[in-house]
Amino acid sequence: MDKSEIKAFIAKRVAKDLKDGDMVNLGIGLPTLVPNFLPEGVHVTLQSENGIIGTGAVTEENKDLIHVIDAGGGAAAVGTGGSFIDSSVSFGLIRGGHVDATILGGLEVDEEGSLSNWIIPGKKMPGMGGAMDLLVGAKNVIVAMEHTAKGAPKILKKCKLPYTAVHCVTKIITEMCVLEVTDKGLVMTEINPEFTVEDVQAVTEATLIISPDLKPM
């Protein structure tokens, strides 16, 4: 798989985890592909933390970059039945557990379900934006990312970079496998048939627990 195929493959698998009626927040990049793959009959309400509940399709007619953007600064629109909210209300919804799922990428994830994705000290300090609140508040935190960074493990025993949040991730979905975060560690529940369990473990620093019910992705 090339880079774009990997992204689509991951996004397609993530989409299966969303349920009809969910309110979902998508991080920038790969997560924004997920709505393209929603199963038939599954409709979700997308929240954009800068102030939209229920985003809609951007068209030439409704495009208005001066007044309606998404959290990445791109053109956005509100869908029928949606609403515009302010930042305090938006994060109240997020921290308050009203967001069913947040899907985002990570630099490092560890077997305790902690995630680092906001800062590389001394090198890159973009800021956490809304990520710390989303990780703490959303009912399900799905990390959707490539399994390694150019071959180097990203799924670790313990994150080395400063945490975005601790004990927050519920599931990790990569092009190689699906991992559920449990009290005992990371349980592999699905595997891409192109790989063996040994292949996955070889590029994963955390020790993987293999589900007795392991399924193909």
Binding site: H67, S87, S88, K124, M132, V136, P162
Partner: protein, 229 residues
């Protein structure tokens, strides 16, 4: 009572070294004409509280959008924000030149810390940031466990000025926001000594239905006429 004044006059209210909250999210919902005038005023050493460092290229072809103009002009000595990664000037000034101090806070905490000040609260207890380096922030006043869950106590945030951007502002200072522009404007209007509101359109009192007023005229000190450049 809110007073309509020319932008040139409003800009003069802000002295060197002032702390100023600017509404807006990556420039969306910012008071663009006021910021443009401020960027030409020569005022310096500002402490800015804003969601982010805005962006260079704006949607109408501006070289610098929103508060990115003030940062690019080196008028800012401290920036308190949740995200600065889309404005390369921030990294240059803070990490290479060392002329800009940047304080990063979680977006939800930032909004609520501002709201807390405006609502007369002594702080915010939030689970956000527990176990992270936010615990070491000077804006984190401690940690508490309530019903078995850990929370950080975050300080309220206040500023000398709040500069907000609305789509319609009536002559009494009531504000109606279009689209996703309300963002931080709503809380900031409650948390500063002096509130300056820029309206893309200034309308007569009564033209905004009472149910649609999101920032109340009683909070606004000065109104300036904005509109797109």
């Amino acid at each position: 009572m809110a007073k309509i004044i020319p932008i040139e006059e409003a800009v003069k209210l802000i002295p060197d070294g002032a702390s100023v909250m600017f509404g807006g999210f990556l420039g969306c919902g910012s008071a663009h004409k006021f910021i443009d005038a401020l960027s030409k005023s020569g005022v310096k050493d500002l402490t800015i509280i804003a969601n982010d460092g805005s962006i260079p290229g704006g949607p109408l072809g501006e070289d610098f959008y929103g508060i990115a103009k003030l940062i690019h002009n080196k008028q800012v000595k401290k920036l308190i924000a949740s995200h600065v990664g889309l404005n390369p000037d921030v990294a240059t000034q803070s990490m290479v030149d060392g002329t800009l101090e940047v304080v990063l806070l979680p977006q939800g905490s930032l909004a609520e810390m501002i709201r807390a000040n405006g609502a007369g609260l002594g702080g915010v207890l939030t689970p956000t940031g527990v176990g992270t380096i936010i615990e070491d922030s000077p804006y984190c006043l401690g940690k508490q466990t309530i019903n078995g869950r850990d929370y950080l106590l975050m300080a309220p945030l206040h500023a000398d000025f709040a500069v907000i951007g609305g789509y319609k502002i009536d002559k009494a200072g009531n504000v109606w926001y279009k689209g996703s522009t309300s963002n931080f404007n709503i809380v900031m209007a409650t948390a500063a000594d002096t509130v300056i509101a820029e309206g893309e359109n200034i309308v007569e009192v009564g033209e905004i239905a009472p149910e649609d007023v999101r920032t109340f005229g009683v909070l606004v000190d000065y109104i300036v006429e904005g509109g797109l450049n």
